[in-house]
């Protein structure tokens, strides 16, 4: 392990959304400067949760940050609306879908 003390990391160096390069500083900016109050709003305005993982990684972390920053109980913070598909799927799989028969 290198000599990094995570407690001394700058908010701008802590990645929250890997797919869209969102940092802790970005999330705090969304909450305090833009006045966003939910995972859904932060997703839409900052794109965090719109990348490959669709918020599977960052969604809960963002909910925790909102909880800490705004003093709202974590269990009261709703996740963003889940959207299909549950995992990334190639377009030709949909275009050629034949009802589940003879799938490769």
């Amino acid at each position: 392990m290198g000599g990094i003390n995570i407690m001394e990391l700058d908010d701008r160096d802590i990645i929250i959304c890997r797919c869209e390069d969102g940092t802790l500083a970005d999330v705090k900016d969304a909450i305090h400067r833009l006045g966003l109050r939910s995972v859904e709003e932060i997703k839409r305005v900052k794109r965090f949760g719109m990348g490959h993982c669709q918020g599977k990684t960052c969604g809960k972390i963002i909910a925790q940050i909102i909880s800490q920053e705004l003093g709202i109980p974590y269990e009261d913070i709703k996740p963003a609306t889940p959207r299909q598909p549950a995992k990334n799927i190639r377009l030709d799989k949909f275009a050629n879908y034949n009802g589940g028969k003879n799938e490769d």
């Binding site: 833009l34 709003e41 305005v45 719109m50 299909q84 598909p85 799927i89 190639r90 030709d92």
Partner: protein, 384 residues
């Protein structure tokens, strides 16, 4: 639950979508004070935040063309004006014709569009292929292309207007739902919400897919119906498409976002009117099979997300602007039929001029609800 809100407003705008936010900004910029925007959810949470983000001037009615052309002039300087990077990008719109009827209609459209000052051309399939080299142009008889068409990020544009409006003193009440509009004779007295009452004599209906429900609160029927429209987006890929591509024949459109994702949508003529905004599997199958015929190179690209939003559709696919019924100060900015995002910046200026100065522009007269009394409607046919 604490003391209920009781405030006074010079006007109440219902809905913080693109039309509510552009209008709030224009009114405040032109000196109006005490403007309140009431929003059931959050900014751009309805149709605006679900739309394809296209900014197209190639319409088939003079009013849609005019508002779009003049809105493009505003979009071109919007980032500077509002100090916000809205991802506005003029990559053009390429509209493909597959039948002789379409070619005839497109020639007619282009004549009208040119007469209104738009630079747009009928081009051949080969020329279309030059603009999008990976496009499969089999069966394409001709196309129209306008280089100054484009797209922007609907969340960013709406946020940009809303932030500036706030700086100018506009009050946004989020998570606030309108329950009723209280009247006395032909005058509005107040708006009742789940958070309390707002005293006002002016109400602006900018509620998108819910516009007819707001009008119903004053017992007014407006010819606006909500219809679900679905979209999906893929993972980001290298830049391969600059313009928005439309095929009315296939009833689809697709474009590439600035981050690389390919966004595609389809209009379904059999979709019933409803408030349904769930994504469906048949849509994904249909739109992907059509788009892969036009862009076979996308076959290995993964879809990451699908969603849906509401078009609020009028009989002629043009918005209804201005007062309705017996209430002079119940003002509509509704029924944009799927193209509200691209018309809103200029429409807001006309409405603000009407609300503040009492000037009813020629365009507002043309788009007054009274036009539906005529037997002959000028219907925009360039809709997906």
């Amino acid at each position: 639950m604490g003391v209920k809100m009781k405030i006074n407003a010079s006007c109440v705008i219902i809905g913080a979508g693109i039309n509510g936010c552009t209008l709030a900004y224009e009114l405040a910029l032109n000196g109006m004070k005490d403007i309140v925007v009431v929003e059931k959810n959050f900014i751009a949470s309805g149709a605006t935040g679900r739309c394809g983000g296209g900014i197209r001037q190639q319409w088939s009615t003079p009013m849609n063309i005019k508002f779009a052309v003049e809105s493009v002039h505003i979009f071109e300087k919007l980032d500077e004006m509002l100090n916000y990077k809205t991802e506005y990008f003029q990559g053009g719109y390429l509209i493909l014709a597959y039948t002789d009827e379409e070619v005839n209609q497109f020639e007619k459209n282009v004549r009208l569009q040119k007469s209104l000052g738009l630079e747009v051309d009928i081009i051949s399939a080969e020329q279309a292929k030059k603009i999008v080299p990976r496009l499969n142009v089999d069966g394409v008889k001709a196309a129209t292309y306008c280089a100054t068409d484009g797209h922007a990020n609907p969340f960013y544009v709406t946020q940009a207007y809303a932030q500036k409006a706030k700086e100018l003193g506009v009050k946004f009440l989020l998570d606030t739902e309108v329950h009723s509009i209280v009247t006395e004779g032909n005058n509005i007295k107040s708006v009742t919400t789940n958070k309390g009452n707002i005293n006002t004599d002016t109400v602006i209906n900018a509620s998108g897919g819910y516009a007819h429900l707001i009008a119903k609160m004053l017992n007014i029927d407006i010819p606006v119906k909500p219809y679900r429209h679905e979209i999906l987006v893929t993972e980001p890929v290298n830049r391969i498409i600059d313009p928005m591509i439309i095929s009315f024949y296939h009833s689809i459109y697709f474009r590439q976002e600035l981050n690389g994702g390919i966004l595609m949508g389809q209009g379904d003529p059999n979709e019933p009117s409803s408030f349904n905004v769930e994504g469906s599997f048949p849509f994904v199958q249909e739109v992907t099979s059509k788009v892969l015929k036009l862009m076979p190179c996308l076959k290995n690209v993964a879809m990451v997300r699908q969603w849906a939003g509401l078009y609020s559709v009028t009989p002629d696919a043009q918005p209804i602007l201005g007062p309705v019924g017996d209430f002079e100060k119940f003002i509509q900015v509704v029924g944009f039929s799927g193209h509200g995002f691209m018309l809103a910046p200029r429409v807001a200026q006309h409405l603000s001029n009407y609300i503040i100065n009492g000037n009813t522009s020629y365009e507002m007269k043309e788009l007054s609800i009274k036009r539906f009394e005529n037997a002959q409607l000028n219907v925009d046919v360039n809709v997906v």
